[in-house]
Symmetry: C2
Subunit: 347 residues, 2 copies
């Protein structure tokens, strides 16, 4: 779709032309997507299932920096982060809507690239783009995505279902997306100061974790196959510490996380060391990993034991015992949530 | 909720504090709202009905000017414009999600005012605020609203169901919101130049049309009572001409609108004259009226005849006859759509 040699002004196409251009490239896949783009609203057939709805907003200069994020990746990621929330409910995403605020500095070709990434994510996850809104923005790119999923009522997993002594499990590894961001920001600073081309060699894994994260559809499917239903679940967008606190507080419990159990990829570890950062801190507070954090009954441990995608990192405890990270020597460090402040520092 | 004498920085509350503050003020009304704010996603029980989903984005400096729009009104309007889309599908809105991008110049009290307006709209229309996202913005206020409604599959009205010779009907009156905006912009300019306080006296109706529009829930209920099911329907956000074209094109038809039939309030009419604007042009292209435009079979005419809230303004015709406004003398003027360009001129 994209052609870097040409530039077509958005005003040449107009709002309706842009919507038509987008709509024409979409084929609805789900029988549940009764009506997509082109009416006042999309229409969805729930097919007897409950509906799960989540919304996220991504703002230029806060959530992403177009200085180093390709538009196609940004489009992909903007869909994936919402699907991740749907999976965290143990539901299957089926539809998304996209609201875009575009400034005049974006040509039609740039919008095409953005949508190319969005539609690739939709294809990879089997989701229909059914609606949206396109408007002009005076201050950078604004992306709003709403994802809608479906699940049987009895399959939905909330944050508040954890029980005392249950195991705390995380998928994949942590801290990679954050270290990828550090690399990108360092190279951007070097480029700004010296004009040198960025040196990103050897950092493929953590750069991909930052630029093109995936939602853990596979983990939801794996747990179903293993016949393990988590008792509580959340996705890791703000960092493990923050999300573990959400699960614990929603369930009226305390939590213990063991430092030495934290799954950290070797490339995350070595990059953290290069930046003089503590790898565990990056895993706990880095954010944007989009892994799943969940609790299971101890009786389910044998079903997940030894699976390379799943790591037991701790357990729930009585609320009176508080929220702590336990180091190798058994020392306790209070877990603290990061939210807004971390947000402001990013991007 | 608001207290203009105090100012609490958003950073003092933090992202999670702000979400908790909001969540604590919400009581879910619908049995279909299974889970509201506080998990990865909201959960909705469709109760055997189809789901209708629509998203809109409002950007500071494009869709609103905080120089003359009170935050409470803005919150109210941001919900209402989305509900209007749900009614335009002949569905009943039941849930909304809200994504907010906030810059540091907004204190907590300002956010409270915005939500106060949103929650008032939710209350007035019987809708639950079930989820959202709050993030920091570096460039003004960004509001993203997604509304979800429900209807029996057979009750949903699309844009594409109009038939040849059917009557084109509009609710309420047109052009008022646009003239309200002209008044606000004139008084803002006077204030900027001279420091004089705005003189808004005598313009209550058109100012309310601009600042605090209502979605035509009452019209949907009226049509049900009258046992009239529109064959196609759309809400008027971009102006009558643009929306009539949408209905005609989606239905594969042409359309005739009669100038002398356009419902224009006397205050809209006289203000247009004061501004040397053609009242009909304001009604056709002004936008933001949030009235409903729909087609009905000629056999339904007797059921709506004489109702002060409904005006037959034209009829559908063969596509070969095109899309025209007919003036008193029978002269034809081509209807043209406004979209993006009008957008850029507004605000």
């Amino acid at each position: 779709m994209s052609d870097t040699t040409s530039r077509t002004e958005l005003s040449a196409l107009g709002e309706f032309g842009l919507i038509e251009r987008l709509a024409s490239s979409i084929q609805l896949q789900h029988a549940s997507s009764v009506k997509g783009i082109g009416d006042d609203a999309a229409v969805i057939d729930p097919e007897g299932l409950q509906q799960v709805v989540t919304t996220d907003m991504l703002l230029e200069g806060v959530h992403f920096d177009l200085g180093y994020v390709p538009l196609k990746h940004l489009g992909y990621k903007s869909i994936v982060v919402n699907l991740s929330d749907v999976y965290a409910m143990n539901a299957t995403p089926r539809q998304v809507t996209v609201a875009l605020g575009l400034s005049n500095r974006f040509p039609v070709e740039a919008v095409d690239e953005l949508y190319e990434g969005m539609l690739l994510a939709c294809k990879n996850y089997g989701v229909d783009l059914v609606g949206g809104d396109t408007c002009s923005s005076r201050s950078g790119l604004v992306i709003g995505v709403t994802a809608i999923g479906a699940a049987k009522a009895e399959d939905i997993v909330y944050r508040n279902g954890a029980k005392d002594n249950e195991l705390l499990v995380v998928s994949g590894d942590l801290g990679g997306a954050y270290m990828g961001l550090q690399i990108l920001e360092r190279e951007k600073a070097v480029f700004t100061e010296t004009g040198s081309q960025p040196d990103l060699a050897g950092h493929d894994y953590i750069l991909e974790r930052q630029l093109k994260p995936e939602a853990r559809k596979d983990i939801i499917e794996l747990l179903r196959k293993l016949e393990v239903k988590p008792t509580s679940m959340i996705d890791i967008s703000d960092g493990l510490a923050s999300e573990a606190l959400h699960l614990a507080r929603a369930s009226g419990l305390g939590v213990r996380i063991y430092d030495e159990k934290l799954p950290i990829d070797p490339s995350t570890y070595s990059t953290a060391r290069d930046f003089n950062l503590d790898p565990s801190t990056c895993a706990l507070n880095g954010g944007e990993d989009y892994e799943l954090l969940f609790t299971i009954a101890q009786s389910d441990f044998d079903k997940i034991k030894g699976n390379p995608s799943l790591t037991v990192i701790g357990h729930m405890c009585d609320v009176a015992n508080g929220y702590f990270l336990v180091n190798k020597e058994g020392g306790l460090h209070a877990l603290t949530a990061q939210g807004w402040d971390a947000f402001l520092k990013r991007g």
